[in-house]
Symmetry: C2
Subunit: 246 residues, 2 copies
């Protein structure tokens, strides 16, 4: 048991990691959800996740769950801790803390069902937000979305959604999909290409089915974006519901 922990106010508890995994596909932001295969909340939608194991650090646990649920190598993704949730009654089985992670990646492969998961699939976030999710996962999802939106402003994480190499338009579509409103292509290009080490040109270009070929870029070395990408001078742009559901 927990004999290593002296009984002096110590309360043994379970610790899990839960993942908010976002990707951009079909012009919409998607989140990976599983349908729980066992109680509690059996049959309900939930974020993927699981218990932290004995010798395991938190980041390791998150990467392992990521691999188990999506079959993808987490090192290709942006992964960061979101927040830890520990309301006493959040898990009917007993006191459980969950360390929520945010993972961002390019259009990821169709996930494979994990151990806990009866099914796992990509769900458009606007659909997920109006669903009922197990535990406090809807709150976690909302915080993940807020964090992702905010981080696009002052970091270069948007590039994590693009498979390399990518075009400036690819990158712009990430912003548009996540923020929910269009950006001026001309000003966006100027901003991105003038910011130090946001993107680096490869010299190559890609010819689409229609239209002029587009120059290709790779991620630069910068993590922070200065000056930031302005989201909204006034409180103008609200996030309108997206029509895309495919």
């Amino acid at each position: 048991m927990n004999r290593a922990l002296k009984h002096d106010g110590t309360m043994p508890a379970a610790v899990t990691v839960d993942l908010v995994i976002f990707t951009v596909r079909a012009a919409a932001l998607h989140v990976l959800l599983i349908e729980r295969g066992m109680p509690p909340f059996e049959g309900e939608l939930a974020l993927p996740g699981g218990y932290v194991r004995a010798g395991e650090d938190l980041d390791q646990a998150a990467l392992r769950e990521l691999a188990e649920e999506t079959g993808i190598n987490g090192h290709e993704l942006h992964l960061e801790q979101l927040r830890t949730f520990g309301a006493p009654e959040r898990d009917p089985r007993g006191r459980t803390f969950t360390v929520a992670y945010l993972a961002l990646g390019p259009d990821l492969p169709t996930p494979v069902a994990g151990t806990d998961a009866a099914t796992a699939c990509w769900v458009p976030v606007d659909v997920a937000l109006s669903s009922e999710l197990a535990f406090d996962h809807l709150i976690i999802l909302k915080e993940g979305l807020d964090r992702a939106r905010a981080k696009l402003e002052y970091t270069t994480v948007a590039a994590a959604f693009c498979r390399q190499p990518f075009t400036i338009a690819d990158l712009r579509r990430v912003y548009e999909v996540i923020w929910g409103f269009p950006l001026d292509p001309s000003n966006f290009r100027r901003k991105v290409t003038k910011a130090a080490h946001f993107v680096e040109p490869t010299g190559e270009s890609r010819t689409p089915e229609i239209g002029r070929p587009a120059a290709l870029y790779r991620r630069g070395s910068a993590e922070l974006l200065f000056p930031p990408m302005p989201r909204s001078a006034d409180g103008e742009h609200e996030v309108q519901p997206s029509a895309a559901t495919g």
Copy 2:
């Protein structure tokens, strides 16, 4: 794999909260440290903190520890979760996760020794950063400092360091002390007073021992600062990234 909490993959662990409490006094940023009164790390400096109790939420635990260690009502402070640390060997007593919190407040009263603390005192952060702290608390302190610095840029938390009402110069000194370089008083004033709802004039003024009286302000309703307070146009005053935001 995992089902109920009893056996299977579940690993019972202890969960603590640790607090990085910052205040500005004597023109320097200070952090509250305790000298540990019992093993492990007896006699060493550490962040205040303690175990999360049975019926307690994380924020509640943080507020309780804050009250115990400083005797202050946490509702007057800015309090936010920083990150959770869970390296397997971080506590020699057994598997322990700690949810680190960042607390920001105006020049706080001299702390009272808490249950775990032999002594508690304010330490200038530059001194603390070059000290040895118990557990992984030095890393937590560094992250707290990074977070505080980053948040001054795009939020209005700087006002949390000022006892109300305050002058524009008071607020500017917060930025200067935390960022570590001087700001132009004229441009700072223009920025702060023109930003929507950062500060609200009280109509009163305060007469110092020498110099012209200064108008007094209170915190406005805004949480976010738009446009942000630019920290460094060029890379002159670099203070390093870290995954910011909470």
